[in-house]
């Protein structure tokens, strides 16, 4: 019986390894490949940590199984072996404190720049973002204007989006912190230019929500009372899932939206379309498209 249990506990880590190796093939893994450059770097970090933990896991499991079998062998009648009393071994204590400490310190330092690039405002790709706004989207802006292209407000249970609108000459205006008469509104459908860093301002109208773009590896809590800038860059021209990742109430599951990454021209066209819909006055559509500011 004792050999059965030894084998049983030896098989458990082997099974765990087998399942882990088979997982990606069955789709029990990341939601697709990282669809943003930063997401790729986050994945790389994940894989590095996965490798460290895998080596640690295999090492400790081999040790455990070895001890298991050795201990079981000692209980045989013909064996007369004494156990090694290791309690209080200074050397061992130092080794298993210092080695993990170095590994953790290494991880802590190694991930710093990814974290900083994602979260530290001074390190945001500001130049690229302002280049997009000025040169591609022809936004009339000063250096004080926000780099954000939209304000996303989470509320129970949907994502309300506010884009800056156009001035009388059809130029894109900068996004203001407060709503403007020219602003354009949408819900659950966030459009952004593709292959270029873009920024949104994240707000919450009621409780805590979390802005989650799984394919882009972007997750940021929306906190009531705060305006949190979030930047991301989508690699492909397609739509991505936008979900809430913070249990925000009974309708949490309803907060399903999409991010549509499209070319600069298509993005501007989308905003123009929104403009036309939003200023529809019930007369003929082609006449109503003229710019009215109120």
């Amino acid at each position: 019986m004792k050999w059965f249990w030894c084998l049983f506990f030896a098989l458990a880590p082997i099974l765990a390894m087998a399942v882990s190796i088979a997982s990606p093939g069955y789709g029990w893994w990341f939601p697709s490949e990282a669809a943003s450059p930063l997401g790729q770097r986050i994945d790389d970090l994940f894989y590095m940590i996965l490798m460290i933990t895998t080596v640690t896991f295999i090492g400790t499991q081999i040790g455990l199984v070895y001890v298991l079998f050795k201990g079981a062998r000692r209980t045989d009648a013909d064996v007369n072996e004494k156990a090694w009393f290791s309690h209080g071994s200074h050397e061992l204590e130092v080794i298993w404190s210092v080695v993990p400490a170095f590994i953790l310190l290494f991880i802590a330092l190694y991930q710093l720049d990814v974290w900083a690039d994602y979260r530290v405002k001074n390190l945001f790709p500001r130049e690229e973002m302002s280049k997009l706004l000025e040169e591609k989207l022809h936004q009339k802006r000063t250096e004080h204007d926000s780099l954000a292209l939209a304000e996303v407000t989470a509320r129970q249970f949907e994502w309300r989006i506010r884009y800056p609108g156009f001035d009388a000459d059809g130029h894109l205006l900068p996004l203001m912190p407060e709503p403007q008469p020219t602003d354009l509104y949408a819900v659950n459908d966030l459009h952004m230019p593709v292959k270029v860093p873009v920024m949104i301002n994240l707000k919450s109208q009621d409780v805590q929500h979390s802005f989650f773009l799984p394919e882009l590896r972007v997750k940021q809590d929306a906190v009531p009372g705060l305006v949190i800038p979030v930047w991301f860059e989508a690699n492909h021209q397609r739509s991505y899932a936008l979900l809430c990742a913070e249990l925000c109430g009974w309708g949490h599951y309803k907060m399903k939206a999409q991010l549509v990454a499209e070319s600069d021209e298509a993005f501007l066209e989308y905003l123009h379309e929104l403009h036309e819909q939003q200023f529809f006055d019930g007369v003929a559509a082609e006449e109503a498209s003229d710019d009215e500011d109120e």
Partner: protein, 463 residues
């Protein structure tokens, strides 16, 4: 293991199943229904079950102006036993493998329906699973997916809507009690935010817009990611629930003389209970009641059908007048006008605190305003910048012209289009007022759009 521990383990295993009793959804009935005498309840219940069925076994009543089927079409080309082509201008996307087809010609009527194995959307040709016993003739009418829209609608409604709006559309689902404003009770046939005239009901487009865009300022979220066909199916189902509720409402109102209270009164006055009941049963026997049911259902169907026509839409003859300080000032003047009465409820400054909000309405117990569903309501505070029924100028025009249906808001039929636009411009300007209107700085407050956009005070998180 002894018996007791076996029992404990067995009962622990049953724990997760607590609350999973008989979960077949049932239509509930209105309060007025329960006030009727049992014999009248039985009759109304029977009528509703005959023409509408139950939530799981719904009946597609042809009298109702609803799109129950994927397609109501005719056979085209040269039909064979396995392949039939249909004349459809655009093929509904839901048709596919497994869709049922019923042929409605005389010789096919009694045959079991056929199921599509392959559907060619290009040529609108169906290949059937089994060979048709009788080959339909060219031009024969056929229903593709009979009742399927209603069925799809029910599944989607159960998934997305039911927990607030309730199985019967009574706005009393399990989560409804936590919400303010309450979810819409469809059973009066009234929907607040429509683009139709005051006397008309909602159009399909109005309901679809609410489903897709949600209602900001309320708990109604946006269901933007639904496929258009899914949203359409939900709209049909909501209209169907609405018609069912309306028929129930009309019948319970018509049969009010058989409410327990009145019957008890009549018995006390000397009539015999049996005589009252027998008169009612005789009325049913003679078919008089069923004529009434058909007639009332006809009115409901007509009202809904009439509301779907372009003529039912609020008409805008004059293009929107661009916003200007003059227009806003004129709008403000109209807003305060004693005959137009906006400020009676919305308040002189638009905070939704006009004198009507604390006056006693004719048959109310407490002061304030009530909607047709009996809920206390507040006139909109126009300073929030939230437009529940949509923020397009056309939406605001419809609200002012045709009111918010089911609420005490008055319609302004006689007001010229130009004046409605002035009011719209004024309403748009209110959220941007820095001073309370009427506080003595109208000229400045009236032209917010001309003001410089608000600059961020410091380079806060926005940058």
């Amino acid at each position: 293991m002894n018996t007791r521990s076996t029992l404990i383990i067995a009962s622990l295993g049953l724990l997760p199943m607590l609350g999973c009793g008989n979960s077949t959804p049932q239509f509930s009935n209105r309060q007025e229904f329960h006030e009727l005498e049992p014999f009248a309840q039985e009759y109304v219940g029977e009528v509703l079950e005959t023409y509408f069925g139950t939530p799981t076994e719904s009946v597609a009543w042809e009298k109702l102006p609803l799109k129950f089927h994927y397609a109501d079409t005719t056979v085209a080309g040269e039909p064979t036993g396995r392949k039939v082509q249909f004349s459809l201008t655009d093929a509904p996307t839901q048709i596919g493998s497994g869709t049922e087809v019923v042929f409605l010609t005389a010789e096919q009527r009694n045959l079991a329906s056929a199921r599509i194995r392959e559907w060619d959307a290009e040529t609108r040709t169906a290949t059937f699973e089994t060979k048709l016993a009788n080959i339909p003739s060219t031009g024969a009418s056929a229903l593709i997916g009979p009742g399927a829209v209603l069925k799809d609608g029910r599944m989607l409604y159960a998934e997305h809507c039911q927990h607030c709006h309730g199985v019967s559309g009574d706005g009393a689902g399990p989560t409804a009690q936590y919400l303010n404003p309450r979810p819409r009770d469809y059973r009066l046939g009234k929907f607040k935010f429509t683009t139709t005239k005051y006397e008309h009901r909602a159009q399909r487009g109005d309901l679809a817009r609410v489903i897709e865009e949600g209602i900001p300022g309320t708990y109604m979220p946006s269901f933007k990611l639904l496929e258009p066909a899914e949203s359409e199916a939900i709209v049909e189902y909501v209209m169907w629930l609405s018609m069912r509720g309306e028929l129930e409402y009309v019948l319970t109102t018509l049969l009010k003389e058989y409410a327990s209270e009145y019957v008890a009164q009549r018995v006390a006055d000397g009539e015999s209970y049996e005589a009252i009941r027998d008169k009612f049963l005789a009325d049913i026997q003679s078919g008089g009641m069923s004529d009434t049911v058909q007639e009332q259902a006809g009115y409901i169907a007509e009202a809904w059908a009439a509301s779907q026509t372009p003529d039912a839409l609020v008409e805008v003859k004059v293009k929107r007048i661009p916003s200007s300080p003059e227009s806003i000032a004129r709008g403000r003047q109209l807003f305060l006008d004693a005959n137009i009465k906006c400020s009676q409820c919305h308040g002189e400054a638009g905070y939704g605190n006009g004198p009507q909000t604390y006056s006693m309405m004719p048959d109310a117990d407490i002061p304030g305003l009530f909607d047709d569903w009996g809920n206390p309501i507040k006139p909109r505070n126009l300073h929030t910048g939230i437009f529940r029924g949509g923020r397009r100028p056309y939406d605001l025009f419809c609200r002012i012209r045709a009111s918010v249906k089911g609420t005490p808001m008055t319609r302004l039929d006689a007001l010229p289009d130009e004046d409605v636009w002035h009011l719209v411009n004024y309403v748009y300007s209110i959220p941007y007022e820095e001073e309370i209107a009427g506080a003595g700085k109208e000229a400045q407050a009236a032209a917010p759009a001309e003001a410089e956009p608000v600059q961020p005070e410091k380079e806060v998180a926005s940058n």
